[in-house]
């Protein structure tokens, strides 16, 4: 099976068996979801410091036994400088980190598997195994029992890291991963690369990924981003996550970040900041959908349509009166099956029959109540029954099962 590493520094000869030089590198173009064909080879000329670049079409044989050109060296079109938009396999991929998109992890490239695909010599896979390392050392014979298995990652499912974590060059497969998986990848990368990956994502995704990142790394990352970028991310973060972040930052930094947050959100943030961390108040979010008792189902559904961008895991509409008092709750399911002309007050579950939380209730009792009554979310109200926010089951889970 051909690998790239044994070919490096092999002699390249032309059709007259004249030695041209030694193979130094191979240029490919990375296209998402495709095996990259070898397009140019870089040759270090004999007794010259000069490097020349030859199109891969001019190559006859490309194997460990022989690398040879189809014609005489003098008849080949030679490039002096590398064309734009290509990456160097040895310089930019070999020994560098890549993102294994399927496995949602970051690995180091030990070798590259090349081979024929649809009549073209392509990079097919990335060897990340110990056997790849032994091959690099020329010590494969040590493993005569075949204990070390080759572990290949499909080239199409890999995202090179070096110089490639910029807008538009990040593969769609990667951005389609779950935010928690992307967050894992960001944590694995170096800070620089991690932050450029975050910045390559669209606003909403970036915010969601950011929320999933380990708080300690979050703190470091945000201080590395420019204020504008930090603002762009914090703008789309949910209020409770933003508050957690602000609390963990040193004063001057959180102040700086707050300067970019809208006035309305600041009010909410300040309110949340006033609750203790380990209470329902500290746990709740103030991103919720609400309606008045007189609203019709049709109006409410339209509202959901318009606002769903800004709200994520919300499955209920909370019904509040004009003084902001908690009246009842309507699930999306109820909305779906009700008469569009009916008003919310007729279909809602009345708050007096529901379990409500108080802001100073401890996490322990919140979890207890939510488990007991099988609640996905619960409203938090003050002593005048004024609606304050919502605690969802995932907020609680995150505290209870922090290592996930």
């Amino acid at each position: 099976m051909p690998y790239l590493s044994p070919l490096k520094n092999s002699q390249v000869s032309d059709s007259a068996d004249e030695i041209v030089g030694r193979l130094e590198d191979v240029l490919v173009k990375v296209k998402p979801g495709e095996y990259s064909a070898l397009e140019y080879i870089v040759i270090r000329k004999r007794r010259h410091k000069k490097r020349i670049i030859i199109p891969y079409e001019a190559v006859e044989n490309f194997s460990r036994e022989e690398i040879s050109l189809r014609s005489l060296y003098s008849k080949i079109n030679i490039l002096e400088t590398p064309p734009d938009g290509y990456i160097f396999l040895n310089r930019d991929v070999m020994d560098q980190q890549i993102v294994d998109v399927a496995g949602a992890r970051v690995v180091r490239v030990n070798d590259l598997r090349i081979g024929d695909f649809e009549g073209k010599m392509c990079v097919l896979g990335i060897d990340v195994s110990l056997r790849g390392l032994l091959r690099r050392l020329g010590l494969t014979w040590i493993d005569f029992l075949g204990l070390f298995k080759v572990n290949l990652i499909d080239w199409r499912k890999a995202q090179p890291v070096k110089g490639m974590l910029k807008l538009d060059s990040v593969s769609k497969d990667l951005t389609r991963l779950h935010p928690a998986d992307i967050a894992n990848i960001v944590e694995d990368l170096s800070l620089k690369q991690g932050s450029s990956l975050v910045l390559s994502l669209d606003k909403n995704m970036a915010a969601r990924v950011f929320e999933e990142i380990d708080p300690e790394i979050q703190k470091i990352l945000i201080s590395r981003l420019s204020p504008e970028h930090a603002a762009r991310i914090s703008e789309r973060m949910s209020i409770d996550e933003l508050v957690d972040l602000l609390q963990s930052l040193p004063k001057h930094q959180s102040k700086q970040l707050l300067e970019y947050v809208e006035q309305e959100r600041i009010k909410k943030v300040n309110k949340l900041l006033s609750y203790e961390d380990d209470t329902a108040g500290g746990l709740m979010t103030t991103d919720y959908l609400s309606g008045s008792p007189e609203d019709s189902v049709a109006v409410t559904v339209e509202k959901i349509r318009q606002l769903s961008e800004n709200f994520r895991s919300i499955n209920y509409v909370y019904v509040l009166d004009d003084k902001g008092r908690y009246k009842g709750v309507v699930s999306f399911r109820t909305l779906l099956v009700s008469d569009p002309l009916d008003s919310l007050k007729n279909i809602m579950k009345k708050s007096i029959h529901l379990t409500v939380l108080h802001p100073d209730q401890s996490i322990k009792s919140v979890a207890h109540l939510m488990t007991k009554y099988d609640l996905n979310s619960a409203a938090v109200v003050d002593q005048d029954n004024k609606f304050l926010g919502v605690v969802t089951v995932d907020d609680v889970m995150r505290v209870l099962v922090p290592n996930a």
Binding site: V128, L133, P402
Partner: protein
């Protein structure tokens, strides 16, 4: 039933990777200080104690020199880490041939492993001083370190680290209690003296090798890289590194003074740190003995922890196994496996009866000084790369200092090798 915890605690537990957890502790104290403190580990204390007892104040000027070498090389490592955002092992792997990477990582691993061995021999020595059964004390200490690092109870680690840093003042007290000849001691800082014997040369090499270390070079860079220090804070990190370099040699000075003022003056020779603790008693009082012994235990444990973390981290980084730290539970990851391997293999080796500990430790220190120039060579190459360092490339003067350090180290190595060869021929 689920266990409940308050949110503050869980936030600390949530860390998936070890490194960020360590950062948390060390956000209080700078990395330079940590490296500097852990530098005075069991091997260091033994070397200083023996150096003082054998050669009195004659070797103190070497400390003065190593302070500079340490400060310069650590500053370069810190800068490389800050600007590139990567550890030294990763950078070497990415920018040099794989065989070279493998070679340097392998040598570093061997030298580090022997270094950890030295830490447990320090633990064992403390057991001897107090007559505690060796196996019990060494194994429970190994268990304690593993538990502290793997469970990641950071409040405890932080407390322990702060206490143990403070414990280094034990040596300063021990130094004062030995009533040394202060004027001679201070004069010897700047006035070089040389005794043309093999032992003196070896001791000079050992002094440098125990202070300027391979693991320290990897540690400081990874630390700064992962801490996310910004390029504009380079000056702050510089100050931290310089302070750490000063601190490590400041403590070393007092250890040498303590044994020089007592043992050397009375012609008592010792071969290790435990000897030093026992031998100090008649001259400097029973308190000095206890201070010395507990300082040694503290240094051994701290060294074992930091050197092992640095070693495991270096290897996972070089071979690309760091990504798997997240896979499944912690124990299954390469990092923790390597960590536990280093801790328990060394602890067990120390317990082998009649194990030739001293030759192994001596060889390890020689290996350390042998590998250092190679490592510095890589370091200098990387620091002169415009594509990595940008405007923070090494200036001319730093390059000159760097090369001088490499030359001094290589020169000392060659001289020592020359002595060895000469002796064999003779």
């Amino acid at each position: 039933m689920l266990r409940f915890m308050d949110k503050k605690n869980t936030k600390e537990i949530k860390k998936k990777k070890l490194w960020p957890k360590l950062l948390l502790i060390m956000s209080v104290i700078g990395p330079g200080i940590i490296a500097g403190t852990a530098d005075n580990d069991a091997g260091g204390i033994a070397t200083y104690a023996v150096a003082g007892s054998q050669f009195g104040y004659h070797l103190i000027w070497i400390l003065f020199l190593t302070t500079f070498v340490l400060a310069i090389t650590q500053e370069m490592g810190a800068r490389l880490g800050i600007v590139s955002g990567k550890g030294l092992a990763a950078l070497i792997r990415e920018n040099f041939p794989f065989r070279a990477t493998f070679f340097i990582i392998l040598l570093s691993f061997i030298a580090n492993w022997a270094n950890i061995l030295a830490e447990f021999s320090g633990v064992s020595a403390v057991a001897n001083i107090y007559g505690i059964p060796n196996w019990l004390f060494v194994l429970s200490s190994a268990g304690l370190i593993s538990w502290l690092v793997i469970s990641g109870n950071f409040k405890n680690i932080q407390r322990i680290f702060l206490t143990s840093s403070a414990l280094y003042f034990a040596y300063v007290f021990a130094g004062f209690m030995s009533h040394p000849d202060w004027s001679a001691a201070l004069k010897s800082i700047v006035v070089p003296s040389w005794i043309p014997t093999k032992d003196f040369l070896f001791m000079a090499i050992a002094l440098i090798g125990t202070t300027v270390t391979i693991w320290g070079q990897f540690f400081i860079q990874s630390y700064f890289a992962e801490k996310g220090v910004r390029t504009q804070d380079l000056n702050w990190s510089r100050a931290d590194v310089y302070l750490g370099s000063f601190w490590t040699n400041f403590v070393a000075f007092f250890i040498i003074v303590a044994t020089a003022g007592t043992l050397y003056v009375h012609g008592v020779t010792i071969t290790d740190a435990a000897d030093a603790a026992k031998a100090l008693e008649p001259f400097a009082g029973v308190l000095a003995k206890h201070l010395f012994a507990w300082g040694l235990y503290n240094a051994s444990m701290l060294g074992a922890g930091v050197v092992t973390i640095s070693t495991a981290y270096t290897i996972t980084e070089a071979f690309g196994w760091e990504g798997k730290v997240n896979a499944g539970f912690k124990e299954s990851s390469s990092f923790y496996k390597l960590f536990l391997f280093c801790i328990f293999s060394t602890a067990l080796v120390v317990l082998i009866p009649n194990f030739p500990l001293v030759p192994v430790l001596v060889t390890s220190q020689a290996l350390n000084t042998f590998v250092l120039p190679i490592l510095f060579f890589f370091l200098l190459k990387l620091l002169n790369r415009k594509d990595i360092m940008g405007d923070n490339k090494n200036g001319l003067s730093l390059n000159v200092f760097g090369w001088i350090s490499i030359l001094i180290l290589s020169g000392l190595n060659l001289a020592y090798l020359g002595y060895l060869v000469f002796n064999i021929i003779k």
